[in-house]
């Protein structure tokens, strides 16, 4: 899978883990609120308790109000978990009794309430405070004493934050684990797709048969079906194209035959040397056209989608090679080339299309004859190597430079300085046919590092 592309796995992961992270953040905020509520409730109660204790101990002596508690007790009362509380007691008329004199007053609109909690600012810090009104003497109508107790707000914020953090970390781990699980889960789920991918990858380019739909998971089956539909249309289009090439080649054969025959007849009738040479060239050109037509036809047959590509039968390569070589001997002799045959095979039966193997070997021989100078030797050899049948055509011509040896199998490729007679299709056809038969073909130097040896290796029968 291409890592640069937006993979299905990444996309699914994003769609699942994105909301998970959002939920985690929301849940953390909610947790914080809840924690703060509980912390406030507890801390407020502690403040109130202190305020009540203080209020209970305000005494009246004459007109003077005072806090009737020894200093150590006061210290104990106002000590919180993290530092001391601030406090102040004021009389009914607002007169200062005891405590921190500059503690801010409670909000004005809460003057009538018995207990009021409020937030304020004291000594450059936010504080949480409670105000409590205690009657000087119940039922006396003398008004109420105002007790205020305050505490640094940061304490509770810290505490609430700690609670929040302790909830947030395990939740975060949960999100992480879910993400990992999803990542691997998707990977496992996609393995079914990998199987389909492998099936496509391992195919030869001539195999356009449908993929096995039943092996794919239900979600992927429509995809496989669509792919099969495409393969079918491709197959039909290829078959139509090949039919066209085959028909065209067939149609061309008769006019080319006419051209060749007329050129030959004219050559016999003409005694004029110059005209005779022209006719000879005409005849040669007609020969090339004939060969090209034949090669196009072979190519159309060797390609995928052609009905020919399935016409396999057991073929004795040594017999077929021998017959084909015999057919080429007259043409080789005409070019003063010693064409021979060498059978060193043990068993050479291969499942093949005999027509195409004959064409393949014909092209190899034709090629060798064309590129070997007069007086040269061309040998067709069949041998057995590690159970494989190997068909070779070796010549002692100029050879092919190592860097050209792969290129010669390309369509319409012509070697620099090569014979002008070839059309550059012969070896392309050879490779096409070899591949169609699961065979390999390579060009290498001939024996003694001279000339060229074209080697076709068939796969051993299964």
């Amino acid at each position: 899978m291409n890592s640069g592309a937006r993979t299905l796995r990444r996309r699914l992961l994003l769609w699942v883990s994105g909301p998970l992270v959002a939920l985690w953040i929301i849940s953390t905020l909610v947790d914080h609120g809840v924690a703060k509520g509980f912390v406030n409730l507890n801390y407020d109660r502690a403040l109130l308790d202190t305020a009540l204790d203080l209020g209970r101990n305000v005494r009246e002596s004459g007109n003077r109000l005072y806090l009737d508690l020894p200093q150590p007790v006061i210290e104990m009362l106002i000590s919180g978990e993290q530092g001391r509380f601030y406090y102040r007691a004021n009389g009914p008329g607002g007169e200062y009794i005891t405590g921190d004199p500059d503690l801010p007053d409670p909000p004005a609109d809460t003057l009538e309430d018995r207990v009021t909690y409020y937030d304020a600012f004291y000594r450059n810090e936010p504080v949480r405070a409670v105000s409590l009104r205690v009657p000087v003497r119940p039922g006396s109508g003398r008004g109420a004493i105002l007790i205020q107790v305050a505490e640094r707000a940061t304490l509770r914020d810290d505490f609430a934050r700690q609670i929040m953090l302790r909830m947030m970390i395990p939740q975060g781990i949960l999100v992480l684990l879910s993400t990992l699980t999803i990542w691997f889960g998707i990977g496992l789920g996609l393995r079914a797709l990998t199987a389909v991918r492998r099936e496509i990858e391992n195919r030869s380019h001539v195999d356009l048969s449908p993929l096995d739909e039943s092996a794919a998971p239900a979600e992927v089956q429509p995809l496989v079906r669509a792919m099969n539909g495409l393969l079918e249309r491709l197959s039909a289009a290829l078959a139509a194209q090949q039919r066209f090439i085959a028909d065209a080649a067939h149609q061309l054969r008769t006019p080319v035959a006419a051209l060749k025959t007329q050129a030959e007849v004219a050559m016999r009738q003409v005694r004029d040397g110059e005209l005779s040479a022209t006719l000879q060239q005409l005849h040669t050109a007609a020969d090339h056209a004939a060969r090209l037509v034949q090669q196009l036809l072979t190519l159309a047959r060797a390609e995928p989608g052609s009905h020919r590509s399935v016409m396999r039968q057991p073929v004795e390569i040594s017999v077929l090679a021998r017959e084909t070589t015999e057919e080429w001997v007259p043409r080789a002799l005409a070019r003063k080339i010693d064409l021979g045959f060498d059978d060193r095979s043990a068993v050479s039966t291969v499942s093949a299309d005999p027509f195409l193997i004959r064409e393949m070997l014909g092209n190899l021989i034709d090629n060798a004859i064309q590129y070997t100078p007069a007086g040269g030797r061309v040998t067709v050899r069949v041998r057995t190597e590690h159970g494989r049948t190997v068909l070779e055509v070796e010549d002692d011509g100029p050879g092919i430079p190592p860097e050209e040896r792969e290129k010669v199998f390309e369509r319409f490729y012509r070697m620099p300085g090569g014979s002008p007679e070839g059309c550059g299709l012969g070896l392309a056809i050879v490779r096409e046919i070899a591949q169609g038969h699961g065979a390999t073909v390579v060009a290498r130097a001939g024996s003694g590092d001279r000339g060229t040896c074209m080697t076709v290796s068939f796969t051993p029968p299964a």
Partner: protein, 224 residues
Amino acid sequence: MRLLIVEDHPILADGLITALKGSDYAVDHAATGEQADHMLAAQHYDAVILDIGLPRLDGYEVLRRMRRRGSKTPVLMLTARDALEDRVKGLDLGADDYLTKPYDLPELEARVRALIRRGQSGGGAELAHGDLVLDTAGRRATIKGAPLELSARELGVLEVLMLRVGRVVNKEQLAEQLYGWGEEVGANAIEVYVHRLRKKLEPAGVSVRTIRGLGYLLEKAAHD
């Protein structure tokens, strides 16, 4: 010798007619299957060159009707198709030989000669190759009219080679031919016969070439 050429492509037909007339055959031409059918029913031919792809009545049908009438005239089928099934179909219907377009004219002429010879077999025929003449009925060979001393087996080898001039004759084919003359013949024996024959033909400028790993070939005479 009278030949019928059945071919609908006018230029190809014209070329064939000119070429074969040049070889001293009497040549008739039919451009359609129906015309060919009529001509074959009315006239005796020594050989027929029959194209398969004809309009309306195709070559197969012409051949079928011809054989139904009991005609034994040898037929060389010409076709623009070379699929194996087509070839088999033609031969099954009674064609004697088969050539795929485009062919080499000398090849076609050689096949026609071979067909005519086969049509006359039993009567015996003379095979000529340059100055060398082989009388297959009289079992005699001459060079420029002078008799050539050949054993029966050497004559057998020569006959096979002359019947397939310019084409490879393998040792199996030679052994098969010689088998008719007596006991089975080994590959070594064949080499000996060919060696002797070669020596006797040398003065006439006729050469029997050895084709590596395949067999022998009687080379076309220089002025043939």
